[in-house]
Symmetry: C2
Subunit: 232 residues, 2 copies
């Protein structure tokens, strides 16, 4: 029971630096949450009561504006913290929605319990600060790209990032290992599904990628990198 949870927490960055016994104690305070593909762990606006660490599956974190525009902020994989630090602020609400892209499993702690853990094991609080900072830096880079780069380059960067973080080797190249629609890519890169469709079509006809329904395989990463980084 708890031992399998403890194993799930080994190697999770949030708990790096804890002894095994401490890890077991942390695991003992956790509850298991599962979400089928398409279901939400939590939605924006709900009371932020829990902190999650993803154990298996994949979770997309999205934000919706009052006008109804939805954007994808990131896609989390196993080991990632999410729902994170909103839950540490009393009475706050989740600012984002976390939705399973495929059947997913996470460990969860209430904000109160996580705060107690952090006071008991300061390294966990330090890790949390670091992790959020890394996420901030990643978002700063994407934000910078959005400000200064054309659409094609932004899509190239997004595809390369996803291939790096969630790629699986297949015979023809590296496949992005979860369902990814044109619309999803558009919501990550600040463009429209039409432009993404056009761009991927172009790349496909030149052999850079092969695509199918909600599938993308990167065949020639180096040419994609050239699109992403070329200083012209």
């Amino acid at each position: 029971m708890t031992t399998s949870r403890t194993q799930a927490l080994a190697g999770v960055p949030l708990f790096g630096g804890l002894e095994e016994i401490e890890l077991a104690s942390v695991a003992g305070d956790a509850s298991v949450r599962r979400a089928a593909s398409g279901r939400a762990f939590f939605r924006a606006g709900e009371a932020a009561t829990r902190v999650y660490v993803l154990v298996a599956g994949r979770v997309k974190v999205t934000e919706v504006s009052p006008e109804g525009h939805e954007v994808i902020l990131r896609v989390n994989g196993p080991g990632d913290l999410f729902g994170g630090v909103a839950a540490l602020v009393d009475g706050s609400e989740y600012p984002v929605t976390a939705r399973a892209l495929e059947t997913s499993e996470a460990l969860a702690w209430s904000g109160q319990v996580m705060l107690a853990l952090m006071r008991r094991f300061p390294v966990v609080a330090i890790n949390a600060a670091r992790l959020v900072a890394l996420r901030l830096h990643a978002l700063q880079r994407v934000h910078h790209e959005l400000m200064t780069d054309r659409v094609e380059r932004r899509i190239a960067r997004a595809v390369l990032r996803l291939a790096r973080e969630a790629g699986r080797r297949v015979e023809s190249g590296v496949e992005i290992d979860f369902p990814l629609s044109r619309q999803d890519l558009a919501q990550m890169t600040g463009t429209t599904l039409f432009t993404v469709s056009r761009t991927l079509s172009g790349w496909q006809s030149e052999g850079l990628v092969t695509t199918a329904r909600r599938r993308v395989v990167v065949c020639q990463p180096e040419r994609l990198v050239r699109i992403a980084d070329d200083l012209s």
Copy 2:
């Protein structure tokens, strides 16, 4: 000496929850850093050795891409943490540049000392995680706007934010209390100085704002809010 530093730290969010004696101890570990207008506390790429808390003045945090495009990520005021969490990661580099917009003064701790403080006072680490999370959420909102909103709305939002965070009441309205050029606004909103100039000119001729060299005064905030929020 240390007592004046201690006073400077009272009310700083990073150290919320510390007793006065503890605060004095924290202050004792700090060194004072000053930067004249236009000088940098640190630059992107330098070894991230120090954590700063701004005591007086104003600091803009910018990021430069390999192509040389510079964007402004935020403007910090007194009490704000900056250079923050990069310094907690061993051997890391600052991902951004922090430059004084006016003569500024900060307290600084080495990353090692700050880590020790966090282990001794876990609440400081928890505060740090919260603060970085708040900054992340703020950037997420701006990022969302950049993806979905037109330029005029983005500029309106940026001006309103600055007026709220760094506004000073004057007879004709609320003046943004530090030098702010068209170029600065462009680098905050992902557009060009030309478009900002055109937009502000339009607003000025309609009486929404008055402008001068690196000066912006918001005269009719409610009409600016309408531009920022109108669902049309």
